[in-house]
């Protein structure tokens, strides 16, 4: 812990006693934080600790219930996003605040204080303005592309480019790398180091411990909306941080026992869609098969093809020896498939519905008699799920909308775990999940495998794949580039296969 | 769909021996208009040498104008127009006349005499008849022109409703003993007249007469009063007098009276045929068809 001592110049930003009360929930209970110019300041805490809330208050997206903010030692009032913009504060929101039907350039230019646009739009100037920022974040797309046509990871890059382009003094990165693969993260870190050199401060929220230690100077830990400590990154280690966050130790890094058997539950032969070609592999009962690749390599596409969400142009699927070809998710579910989609907000959750109803949505048949629901069974199922995933929600009746990102993810995961499908496709199931909960999820995956399910796991984190999987299928531009044993593979070897390019210079990282 | 459209693709221009009569109706979807259309069909049906066509203005002046413009393009031998609105149709009928098309203006007048002849009926006159009838009825009932009146009006802002109101009150205004205790609009609809009458009955211990701007509304008022056991004390008066509606209600003793709004069709066909057959025939500028009270004997 650092005690402020010498009368140094006032910090770039100081928050005192920030309090945020949502109805029924106290998201922040008196948090103090101090951000210096030119530092990367990590914000750490479990799901629901209040990290995003703190960021949103700084960015003017939600008003604080109480507390004061100072910039350069002067007290400021931030009631609207415009106030924050004037103070040079920009934020990349965890749930991306982008406009799918606008172009990439329009997203970047919208209310951008650094782009002096008059009333009339000058398209050429607009695109010229955007290009350098897109290049900096490593996004190789035309800025006239409709944002909604981009991959989720690429959308995240647009959000980052947007924040960079505002010539801000403080940028809040709220899990801005949750859908990015390793190379993109590395590139982003180069950008952040440049910012730091230019005196820009960054608040960096992430659950990826290695990232924290690679980029951050100081770390503030929150727990249950309360301030725990601010520490220097150089003077601490992951275990200590976990203790600060959770209050007890977590065993990390343990490989789960393998449950893989020799019986194939799914055989995929020459699967071809618009995004993948000739993908073949076998998935065994009890096996966790990882899918590695760069953003857009087609990992998720395989799941969508199995689940009837992407048109299959060629190839065969055999499940349990019988040929299947699900044309809709419904048919796929009937055939024993399950899919946890990556974009939980768009593709996964019913935001206005209760946690209970979301978690139970895929097992309604089991909870009802002749279509009439049995409240007892509903409650029991939801409680079991909440306990298993260590879900933190006010009550099973809370609307999912009000949960923190990680708890939303657990709710979605719970929906499919409860259904217990034979083949479960998990598209980045730990996106935005805190360290402790991640371990829980690995445990849950292992339990599903132990029950005899075949699991396919996509992850943006290679260590996660190496840890959880039996084998890893590496994809490169929609084709299988290799199938490796996870016990012997290394991050470097996976990366090499994923990037070894038949078309060099195609930089779609 | 395509088949329907193309399948019936016979030229609208009639074969040389046939002559074209176009009737521009302001709104088919009303019983009164339906009765007109049917009567026209019957009468012109007896003339195989005529092709008779009805255009529906769908209760929209602009629509009716453009339909008459279309009609002019087809150069009919006779054009009959039942104008939706007296100001609106005046111009376009002038253009029909200028194009040399004999044009009969039916039942509702227009602001300029842009027609060959005008076969008219008059809502204000009907209102006056109804007003006088109510005065007489109340005088008979109460010994003098005194009593409580409920008026159920047609759609606000429609000229017919305004005229039926104005005519009646020209007469009623002269009798201070006649009090309007309740006045509500029911948009010509029976279903809407019923709750309005329920409210009138609840709020007024004594009602002598109900004047509704059409027969269905009068009938609705009657049904409600009957249900509350108060129909016998009240005289119900409607307007239009169609054979299967108002006239029937009067015959059944439901309405005390209704006032025929003349269809004008028989006269129009009579004059129209003369115009078609005799190029030199000069009709009068106007034929006024009087309304007739249909009362319970």
């Amino acid at each position: 812990m650092t005690a402020p001592t010498a009368p140094s110049p006032p910090p770039l930003l100081r928050a005192r006693n920030l309090l945020k009360q949502y109805d029924g929930v106290r998201a922040l209970r008196g948090v103090d934080i101090e951000i210096r110019a030119g530092e990367v300041h990590a914000l750490l805490g479990e799901n629901g600790a209040g990290k995003s809330t703190l960021g949103k208050i700084l960015a003017g997206a939600v008003p604080a219930t109480a507390g004061t903010l100072e910039v350069d030692g002067r007290e400021i009032r931030v009631r609207h996003p415009g106030d924050a913009q004037r103070q040079g504060i920009a934020m990349i929101f965890q749930e991306l605040d982008l406009f799918p039907n606008l172009t990439v350039a329009e997203n970047i230019a919208l209310r951008n204080p650094a782009l002096a646009e008059g009333f009339r739009v000058r398209r050429d100037r607009l695109h010229a303005f955007c290009r350098p920022f897109l290049e900096r974040v490593g996004l190789p797309v035309d800025s006239a592309t409709r944002l909604g046509d981009l991959h989720l990871g690429h959308q995240q890059l647009v959000a980052i480019a947007r924040a960079l382009s505002r010539s801000a003094r403080l940028i809040v990165f709220d899990e801005a790398t949750s859908a990015l693969t390793e190379e993109l993260v590395a590139n982003l870190f180069r950008v952040i180091r440049d910012l730091r050199a230019a005196g820009v401060a960054c608040i960096y929220v992430s659950h990826k411990m290695d990232e924290i230690f690679r980029i951050c100077d100081r770390i503030t830990v929150l727990r249950d909306g309360g301030f725990v400590a601010t520490v220097d990154a150089a003077a601490t280690n992951p275990d200590e941080l976990v203790r600060l966050m959770i209050g007890h130790e977590v065993n990390t890094g343990q490989r789960a026992r393998s449950h893989a058997t020799e019986t194939a539950v799914l055989e995929v032969a020459n699967l071809t869609t618009t995004l993948v070609r000739d993908v073949s592999f076998k998935l065994h009962r009890g096996e966790v098969l990882g899918l590695a690749g760069l953003v857009g390599s087609g990992r998720g596409e395989i799941g969508r093809a199995l689940f009837g969400l992407a048109p299959v142009l060629g190839g065969r699927l055999h499940k349990g020896g019988r040929e299947v070809r699900p044309r809709t998710p419904r048919a796929a579910m009937a055939a024993g498939f399950g899919l946890v989609p990556r974009d939980r907000r768009r593709e996964g959750l019913m935001m206005g519905m209760r946690v209970r109803d979301n978690a139970n949505l895929a097992i309604m048949g089991r909870l009802s008699v002749a279509g009439v629901l049995r409240p007892g069974r509903e409650a029991a199922a939801a409680d079991r799920m909440a306990t298993a995933t260590r879900l933190k929600a006010g009550s099973p009746h809370t609307a999912v909308r009000t949960l923190s990102g990680g708890n939303q993810q657990k709710t979605l995961l719970g929906r499919w775990l409860q259904r217990e499908p034979d083949v479960l496709f998990l598209d980045d199931p730990t996106r935005g999940v805190d360290v402790g909960a991640k371990e829980d999820i690995y445990q849950l995956i292992a339990e599903q495998a132990a029950r005899g399910a075949g699991i396919m796991l996509v992850s943006s984190e290679l260590p996660e794949l190496l840890r959880c999987c039996d084998r890893i299928l590496v994809l490169n531009q929609g084709r299988v580039a290799g199938l490796v044993d996870a016990r012997t593979a290394t991050a470097e070897s996976l990366l090499r296969q994923a990037t070894a390019s038949g078309a060099p210079g195609e930089g779609s990282l | 769909l395509l088949a329907v459209l193309t399948g019936c693709d016979k030229p609208a221009a009639t074969a040389a021996h046939q002559r074209l009569v176009i009737f521009s109706q302001c709104n088919n979807a009303e019983p009164y208009r339906a009765a007109q259309n049917q009567r026209f069909g019957e009468l012109f049906g007896r003339h195989p040498e005529l092709k008779f066509v009805i255009y529906d203005g769908q209760a929209d002046a602009a629509k009716q104008i453009s339909q008459i413009e279309n009609a002019i393009l087809q150069k009919p031998d006779l054009l009959i127009v039942a104008p939706f609105e007296r100001n609106a149709l005046s111009d376009v009928m002038g253009r029909a006349m200028a194009a040399g098309i004999p044009t009969i203006c039916l039942e509702r007048d227009i602001v300029q005499p842009n027609f060959t002849t005008f076969i008219s009926s008059d809502n204000v006159a009907i209102g006056r008849l109804a007003g006088q009838f109510m005065v007489d009825l109340l005088t008979k009932k109460n010994g003098e022109a005194r009593g409580n009146l409920v008026e159920i009006t047609g759609m606000s802002g429609v000229q017919g409703a305004a005229d039926r109101h104005r005519g009646a009150f020209e007469v009623l205004a002269k009798y201070p003993g006649i009090k309007v205790v309740h006045q509500a609009t029911a948009n010509w609809m029976q279903a809407e007249a019923m709750p309005r009458m329920e409210e009138a009955l609840a709020a007024n211990p004594r009602i002598d007469v109900v004047y509704a701007h059409n027969d269905p509304m009068a009938y609705g008022a009657y049904l409600v009063a009957k249900e509350k056991g108060r129909a016998k004390d009240i005289a119900f008066i409607g307007v239009d007098g169609l054979a299967n509606e108002g006239a029937k209600y009067v015959a059944e003793g439901i309405l005390a009276a209704t006032f025929e709004y003349p269809l004008c069709v028989d006269k129009a066909v009579e004059i129209g045929i003369k115009l078609l057959e005799d190029k030199t025939f000069k009709p009068q500028p106007q034929y006024l068809l009087e309304s007739r009270a249909i009362t319970h004997p």
Binding site: R415 | Q183, A191
Partner: protein, 321 residues
């Protein structure tokens, strides 16, 4: 207990607004000429009010489900008219028995609803357009089936008269509505189908990913709404002793207004039957008191506009963050 109150705060607030409007109506009501008490509070007036509101409220039950799925049904007014005409034709022209006529009319309504549902489910066309088209087309059908004429029932034989006498009774109409409201509420609250209805409207993309039987749900909600519109048509025919092809013109807006005033979001997913019933009562009370006071028709329209906004504002305070 507190939790429960909090959870149903929306409803409590709607009830409060209803209570407020009810009290206001009682205060503003003209006095009864016999007792001197407020006319508005008389049993006869209150039941009048309920009966008048029934057809729109009944259709609003179905519309609530449609809107919860994120859809809309503009065709209900035309369907109501069509059913009224069918019932009247069956009784008066074809001289069918009451039961057969009623069943046929309601079935016709249900078929229109199923057609809407099928088109919504199968074509990638917004429900607004589909049902706007059927609003137009069905009105044409109703008018052409009865040659643009009204069909009287009073003089159309015994079956017709018996039908009219039973079906226009207050206890019958109000009881029917109450029963249906409970039924639909139970359907929405307590069944898998109800969950699917909400889920679909809350997030249609996620509903696809969760493998919900989307097409069947759509078919069901539009079909049910059609049935209810058919029933409302039969009730209207009974009440007016007439089958009028123009019955229910512009009713779709009344129905949607009732649903939205009851707190159901037009974007789908949020709302329920209790709110809709309250919305219908508010609208009914409003029309009734304005009528009782015999406010001039045009001022009535302007007052109504103000009160609608006010009623919704009072209910919406809850949504504030």
């Amino acid at each position: 207990m507190k939790e429960c109150l909090r959870r149903h705060r929306d409803l409590v607030q709607s009830l409060a607004v209803l209570g407020l409007i009810f009290s206001l109506a009682a205060v503003c009501s003209p006095r009864d000429w016999r007792t001197g008490g407020p006319l508005f509070l008389q049993a006869d007036n209150l039941t009048n009010l309920l009966r008048v509101t029934t057809p729109v409220a009944m259709v609003a039950l179905g519309m609530t489900l449609v809107i919860l799925t994120g859809g809309i049904d503009l065709s209900v007014g035309s369907t109501l008219g069509l059913a009224a005409v069918v019932a009247a034709l069956a009784l008066a022209k074809w001289r069918w028995g009451g039961a057969a006529a009623i069943a046929t009319a309601i079935t016709v309504g249900g078929l229109v609803g199923l057609l809407n549902g099928a088109l919504v489910a199968l074509l990638r066309v917004p429900p607004f357009i589909i049902t706007l088209a059927s609003m137009i087309g069905i009105r044409g059908l109703a008018r052409s089936w009865c040659n643009n004429e009204n069909i009287g029932l009073r003089t159309a034989g015994d079956a017709a008269v018996r039908f009219v006498d039973t079906w226009s009774q207050k206890p019958f109409m109000i009881g029917l509505f109450a029963g249906l409201a409970l039924l639909v509420a139970a359907l929405l609250r307590g069944t898998v189908f109800g969950r699917y209805v909400r889920a679909l409207g809350d997030n249609p993309t996620a509903a696809v990913y969760a493998g919900l039987p989307i097409k069947r749900v759509q078919l069901a909600v539009y079909g049910l709404t059609g049935l209810l519109a058919g029933l409302a048509g039969v009730l209207t025919a009974a009440r007016t002793n007439t089958g009028n092809p123009n019955d229910g013109i512009a009713a779709e807006l009344d129905v949607i207004a009732v649903v939205v005033m009851g707190g159901t979001a037009l974007t789908g997913g949020r709302g329920g039957i209790a709110g809709t019933v309250i919305g219908a009562l508010i609208v009914g009370i409003l029309a009734n008191i304005l009528g009782l006071r015999n406010v001039d028709a045009n001022s009535q329209l302007m007052l109504k506009a103000g009160i609608i906004v006010l009623a919704v504002v009072l209910q919406q305070r809850r949504a504030a963050r």
